[in-house]
């Protein structure tokens, strides 16, 4: 893993689709905190912001600058989607897919795949078709697949949105391990409990703009803006 990804400097970044602005302008500097959590109500632009930072959505205004440059940064990133996307292959073939695409020999990839399958608790179902797994198992598979390349930063778009409490706890335990290993997490969620458990820094989005950002503890103890305070209280924020 390399450490020159950060700081990530976002300057007046915006994206629009069919004339409608989805996010922006957003200005933000991420210094490499272990876990940055993006929160906000539905439609606030959390997913789009993550995609912009990842480079999967087209920037129409502004700039996003990684310390190591965009191309090098793309090589060190992974993305976990809200609805896990699994290939029509076995669990093991799914997990090792990114390695195979990077030209890693099959034997070596299988070795690493076995390690990651065990880390996420899928070691007993390696030959099963991935599509028959439960939602929680598919999300664990997606995590293992995202982490097998040992990325510097992992984007997670509401990874526990459709999961029950037990599956959510298992996913969070994996994420805590990943954090401890030095991989940076940028996670979007509207689950305030999860945000409190994982966040080192919070970015509060509203209507596609950053309303407030700062260290997690002060933010949750006493947000500066009225909208953030209302959101944390559970009020409807528009």
């Amino acid at each position: 893993m390399v450490s020159d990804l950060f700081p990530l400097v976002v300057t007046d970044a915006a994206t629009q689709r069919r004339g409608k602005r989805l996010v922006g302008p957003v200005s933000l500097t991420l210094l490499g905190e272990s876990c940055v959590v993006v929160i906000g109500p539905n439609g606030s632009g959390k997913t789009t912001l993550l995609r912009l930072l990842h480079g999967a959505a087209r920037l129409t205004e502004g700039s996003i600058a990684w310390a190591c440059g965009l191309d090098a940064a793309r090589e060190q990133q992974s993305f976990v989607f809200q609805r896990p996307i699994v290939l029509r292959r076995s669990v093991m073939e799914n997990i090792i897919y990114p390695l195979r695409m990077r030209g890693v020999a099959k034997k070596a990839a299988l070795g690493q795949g076995a390690v990651w399958a065990e880390r996420v608790g899928l070691q007993d179902m390696l030959e099963r078709p991935a599509t028959v797994l439960s939602g929680g198992e598919q999300q664990k598979l997606a995590l293992a697949r995202a982490l097998i390349t040992e990325p510097g930063v992992v984007f997670l778009d509401e990874p526990c949105a459709a999961l029950d409490g037990r599956a959510m706890r298992e996913i969070e335990e994996i994420l805590q391990d990943v954090k401890a290993s030095g991989t940076k997490l940028i996670l979007a969620t509207h689950d305030m409990g999860q945000a409190r458990r994982l966040a080192d820094r919070v970015v509060f989005l509203l209507n596609g703009r950053v309303q407030e950002t700062g260290a997690a503890a002060p933010f949750f103890d006493g947000p500066e803006t009225e909208q953030a305070a209302a959101f944390l209280r559970g009020d409807i924020v528009e």
């Binding site: 990842h54 999967a56 793309r74 090589e75 990133q77 992974s78 993305f79 989607f81 996307i85 290939l87 029509r88 292959r89 897919y97 990114p98 695409m101 099963r128 078709p129 599509t131 028959v132």
Partner: protein, 234 residues
């Protein structure tokens, strides 16, 4: 009705006795169609994958034309191939007219749009599912295409089998470019046309039943070998 029974009986007898002429034309049918199918798949499947993955200016028009060409009249294809391969045509020097190679070329042209269109439907749906993941992984266009082709292989088999069905049952095009020459370019369908013209309906029916049996047999074998319709498979 009597001719139907007679045809069935003759078909049974031809198969049981392994009639030499029947075996020869059945094998030629298989050889021509399987070769055309293989070549058509080599063109059609990458084309379908490219149309699913890549975005370019005339993409929609290409897809529309490809779909329209599924109904390409075999007789017209045969005629065009005939003109191209005839002695005065641009490829006349190759001397391919009235050979199995000419029949393969005609069949290939007929089935490429069919396989490409059916394959494109499957690959487009799969690309819809995979799009975000493969974009996020930053894989190359050729890796995307190969991933789609591999993961949709069983659906693509259906496309190939549709191409096989169209090819093995084709008569108009290969009659023109092959000439239905005995021991050279005669296949099951052209033999059926010949016997019907002669008024030998029972023999024509017998050959027809053999053709149907052959088609069913090939389909069943391929499904069995590729392990489709089994639990947990795609």
């Amino acid at each position: 009705m009597a001719e139907l029974w007679s045809g069935l009986a003759q078909a049974f007898w031809l198969i049981v006795t392994a009639d030499a002429e029947l075996v020869e034309i059945a094998l030629r049918s298989l050889q021509v169609t399987c070769t055309a199918l293989l070549l058509a798949c080599l063109i059609a499947l990458p084309l379908a994958a490219m149309l699913a993955v890549r975005r370019f200016r005339w993409r929609r028009a290409v897809i529309a034309v490809l779909n329209a060409l599924m109904g390409l009249p075999p007789v017209v294809v045969g005629l065009v191939v005939y003109v191209i391969l005839s002695r005065s045509g641009p490829l006349g020097v190759l001397g391919l007219l009235f050979t199995p190679t000419a029949m393969i070329i005609a069949q290939m042209i007929i089935i490429v749009p069919l396989i490409a269109s059916i394959a494109h439907q499957s690959l487009r749906d799969l690309w819809h599912d995979y799009h975000d993941l493969l974009i996020s992984m930053n894989v190359s266009q050729s890796q995307k295409m190969r991933t789609l082709l591999w993961d949709a292989r069983r659906a693509l088999l259906t496309a190939a089998l549709a191409g096989f069905g169209r090819g093995i049952g084709e008569v108009g095009g290969i009659m023109i470019v092959g000439g239905n020459i005995d021991h050279a370019t005669r296949v099951l369908t052209t033999a059926i046309a010949l016997e019907t013209g002669r008024g030998e309906f029972a023999l024509a029916l017998a050959l027809g039943f053999v053709l149907i049996a052959l088609t069913v047999l090939v389909n069943v074998c391929i499904h069995w070998l590729s392990q489709t319709e089994r639990e947990g498979r795609w």
